[in-house]
């Protein structure tokens, strides 16, 4: 049984099915309604830890398969980091050589190349950029709807509007889950529940170090294709990406404290517009369609918590993605399915990401938590 019908929960169910294991997914609202439908849609392996890179390299292989198997929109249209400070350029040179060693083809590019990738961009305040041609973007709506359809077709259950209330234990392990639709028996339970993992495990005296940090995004009306890559302005922590429908999806960091309420803030609209109208003056005449807020579920080392719990057999966690849940969902789904069906994950680096790392003090460090 999987609690949480976002991209992570459905991918776990999908890869379990591939191993011949039928599962049941319960979702409080409707599939995708938590973090998945609010995400920035980007997919990249250009991280700065070997764990992230290993998981994301596998994920990128799987995204291509999902495109072919399920018809999910996915394209390797690249990521572009805009750099305007000398010190950032130096830092990124270190990242790039680290990534190149691990087989990720990132490279520093000059401004004429930036102009080729995003023809309408104003480059006057820029020094250089980093380009990741292996990175790309996908449609969260396709992923949820297509995998959901397939799971139901093949006899798995995806229950919308069913909320997990309490995990019930027996002496041996897990008995099942008490839900808003009654008790569901299962000796194996996966929590793909983002920040709610904290609340679900509290009664079992397990404390999970996840903190929700508010984030903001807006989307414009649809326009003709202007650039392919997801573009990040490193100086202001902002991103812009054009969706397959033609809308521009924009995010930008503003000061927010963990666990703050999700509030609509003009401050965000002002900052995001200021950043992106500087690079793309035409944005001044783009009409905003929607603005929404959501959470990044941050862990102390900005890496997800994936895998079984040491002291409770049958219970798995896949949460705390710190802003990368959607892009990682295929490989995380596969890794959890491996663990459940075969006892160990195919990506060995995943072993470093279980809950026990916090107890043992083996935190993972990464500097580039973004996008």
């Amino acid at each position: 049984m999987i609690i949480g019908g976002g991209s992570v929960g459905l991918m776990i169910s999908y890869y379990l099915l591939k191993k011949g294991v039928k599962s049941i997914v319960i979702e409080r609202k409707y599939p995708g309604s938590g973090n998945t439908y609010k995400c920035a849609t980007g997919i990249r392996a250009s991280f700065t830890s070997k764990e992230h890179i290993a998981l994301m390299k596998r994920s990128i292989e799987l995204w291509s398969e999902l495109r072919d198997e399920l018809g999910v929109f996915y394209e390797r249209s690249g990521y572009l980091w805009l750099l305007s400070r000398e010190e950032d350029l130096r830092t990124f040179k270190t990242y790039v050589s680290f990534q190149n060693e691990l087989g990720i083809p990132t490279k520093i590019i000059d401004l004429s190349e930036v102009k080729c990738l995003a023809p309408t961009i104003v480059i006057k305040d820029l020094l250089a950029a980093v380009y990741d041609p292996l990175a790309g973007k996908a449609s969260p709506f396709d992923l949820i709807l297509q995998s959901w359809r397939l799971l139901v077709e093949k006899g798995c259950k995806v229950l919308a509007g069913v909320e997990a209330k309490k995990i019930l234990l027996s002496k041996k392990g897990i008995l099942g889950v008490e839900t808003s639709a009654g008790f569901i028996e299962s000796s194996t339970v996966v929590l793909a529940t983002a920040y709610d993992t904290v609340k679900l495990l509290e009664p079992l005296n397990i404390s999970v170090p996840i903190e929700p940090v508010p984030k903001h995004a807006f989307i414009t009306e649809a326009y003709r294709d202007l650039f392919k890559p997801l573009i990040i302005d490193w100086t202001t922590s902002s991103y812009i990406v054009q969706t397959p429908h033609g809308n521009f999806l924009v995010g930008s960091e503003i000061p927010e404290r963990p666990s703050d309420k999700l509030l609509n803030r003009l401050e965000f609209l002002r900052k995001a517009s200021k950043v992106w109208t500087k690079y793309f003056p035409w944005m001044k005449e783009a009409y905003l369609l929607r603005y929404w807020t959501g959470y990044y579920d941050m862990t102390p080392d900005h890496h997800p918590i994936i895998g079984p719990l040491d002291d409770l057999e049958g219970l798995y966690i896949a949460a705390g993605f710190s802003g990368h849940g959607f892009m990682m969902s295929p490989s995380v789904g596969e890794v959890i399915a491996d663990w459940i069906a075969e006892g160990r994950p195919r990506v060995p680096e995943a072993l470093n990401l279980s809950m026990s790392r916090f107890k043992k003090g083996k935190l993972i460090k990464e500097i580039a938590v973004f996008g």
Binding site: R28, P119, T120, D196, E221, A222, Y223, R224, L226, G246, K261, L262, L263, N264, R265, L266, E267, L269, P281, W282, K284, E285, A286, Y287, L288, Y291
Partner: protein, 500 residues
């Protein structure tokens, strides 16, 4: 130009503009779409994927069928964009290109902040009465409306309103709008922003874009807000329902009654509620032939008098019938109508064809709830009210203290109740702001008593009454709903940032 029996159109100055390289004549004060309709243009965009021609549907800025490029600014709603001398209009044949190599209009936007007691969003019947009621109590009001003229949908109503006490019995809708506009202009307590859009509730205030006379981005910091955003028209599923010439009944009213432009020559009207019946009569007044009214149920939905009027003028009403298909290559040429059984399934072999160039959909309205939902009000789906509406107390306060709702945005009803709800909401807001007295609160009780125990007792309003009862909760119940939503993980605003 034919002569209208009821309305004498006051045309503005004659101007010229550029439509895809063609010089087009227009009158100042018209919307761009009206000027184009007047020269026979009825296709305003093409669907991006299949390149199907799209006509206009709502004419009041609520749908997306007329998005055009105006002075090279793409995706502009030309139904609410006033025509200007020399403006350059292009229709969008695919997704528009937005990379601009020219001075940007947006660079001229001025920024402002405004502190007011009460912000009213929407200047239709509910908003106008709310503004007048509050202003006479001494409350400083800002009234924001998307239209060029105040009045909302009143400005396109040519029929005489039925007498409900002192709610304009015997007066035509557009005359009511004129009368109320004058009063509002005369009030020193009301600031009016026309052609202005309230785009959202934020931590810092309520954002409003005012377009004319100069573009301004105003952040209001009101102490209370009344949302009177009205409603939008529903579409209907049938083959080729996107052909130009198929539009909302209200869209046609805007063209012929507000701007004096004939929407077509031969019409089929779908739906026999008051909107369908009244628009049929107005079409006849405007010189449009009405071939038939079709109604899928077995009974006429609107007032008997309205139905009698059109039947007397020779318009057949087909009960148990609806449209199943439109035919035409670039515009509607024929409409296929079929009889439906009691389970709402079409009966084979009953097709009738009507040779028409206009199909008006009068199949119901849905509340324009978006800004209420964005503000974080607890919403409820109530079919009797046309869809999503905010929960509210008897005094029209939503789950956010200081935020009130009135008129069709609170659930589809009609103009008289909108007037009354506007007044009730204004008195409630005034009470919150400290302007209340015993006389005022007594007046509110009288209004509510009349509304619930007399006016809504009429059988044609039964459905709305049932719906409004479902949407109205006590303050204690509101508190419970709120607690439950919080328990479900929703981060609902509790104390409005607006009220100290």
């Amino acid at each position: 130009m034919w002569s209208h029996p009821i309305i004498s159109f006051k045309r503005g100055k004659r101007i010229f503009f550029n439509f895809e390289g063609r010089l087009v004549e227009a009158y100042e004060g018209e919307s761009i779409i009206t000027a184009l309709y007047a020269i026979g243009v009825t296709t305003f965009s093409w669907s991006p994927k299949f390149k199907r021609p799209r006509g206009a549907f709502c004419m009041i800025g609520k749908c997306s069928s007329c998005l055009s490029t105006v002075d090279r600014v793409p995706n502009t709603r030309i139904c609410i964009e006033p025509v200007r001398e020399g403006v350059f209009i292009e229709r969008q044949r695919e997704l528009p290109f937005i990379s601009a190599e020219r001075p940007l209009l947006n660079d001229q936007v001025e920024k402002a902040e405004a502190a007011v007691d009460l912000l009213i969003i929407g200047g239709g019947p509910a908003g106008l009465h709310a503004a007048l009621t509050a202003s006479t109590l001494g409350v400083k009001v800002a009234l924001v409306d998307e239209g060029t003229r105040l009045g909302g949908q009143l400005i396109k109503q040519t029929h005489k309103f039925f007498g409900a006490r002192n709610y304009y019995g015997g007066v035509r809708g557009f005359e009511i709008a004129e009368k109320l506009s004058k009063k509002i202009e005369g009030s020193s307590n009301i600031l009016v922003y026309r052609n202005a859009t309230a785009y959202g509730f934020f931590h810092e205030g309520v954002g409003v874009i005012a377009r004319h006379p100069k573009p301004m981005n105003i952040v209001f910091k009101p102490r209370a807000v009344i949302v009177c955003t009205g409603a939008m028209e529903r579409g209907l599923e049938f083959e080729n329902n996107d052909l130009p010439g198929i539009m909302g009944a209200g869209g046609a009213q805007t063209l012929m009654n507000q701007y004096g432009v004939k929407p077509g020559d031969k019409a089929l009207v779908v739906g026999s509620g008051n909107v369908g019946l009244i628009v049929s009569y107005q079409l006849l007044q405007a010189g449009v032939e009405v071939r038939a009214i079709v109604e899928i149920t077995r009974s006429i939905g609107g007032w008997f008098v309205h139905a009698a009027k059109v039947v007397r003028l020779g318009v057949p009403i087909y009960l148990g019938h609806s449209i199943v298909k439109a035919i035409g290559s670039r515009h509607v040429e024929e409409a296929v109508v079929q009889a439906f059984d009691d389970q709402m399934n079409p009966i084979p072999g009953t097709e009738k064809r009507f040779n028409v160039d206009l199909v008006l959909l009068a199949v119901g309205l849905m509340p324009d709830y978006t800004i209420l939902s964005q503000a974080g009000c607890i919403m409820k789906w109530i079919p009797e009210l046309g869809g999503l509406v905010p929960l509210r107390t008897m005094y029209l306060e939503t789950s956010i203290p200081g935020l009130y709702v009135a008129g069709d945005a609170a659930g589809i009803e009609e103009a008289t109740t909108a007037f009354i709800e506007g007044e009730v909401a204004a008195i409630s807001a005034a009470e919150k702001l400290g302007y209340a007295n015993a006389h005022l609160l007594r007046k509110r009780e009288e209004l509510l008593n009349f509304l619930w125990n007399e006016y809504r007792q009429a059988c044609v309003i039964e459905r709305a009454r049932v719906g409004k009862l479902k949407a109205t909760v006590s303050e204690e119940e509101m508190e419970e709903y709120w607690e439950r939503s919080i328990a479900n993980g929703l981060g609902l605003p509790r104390s409005p940032y607006t009220l100290q």
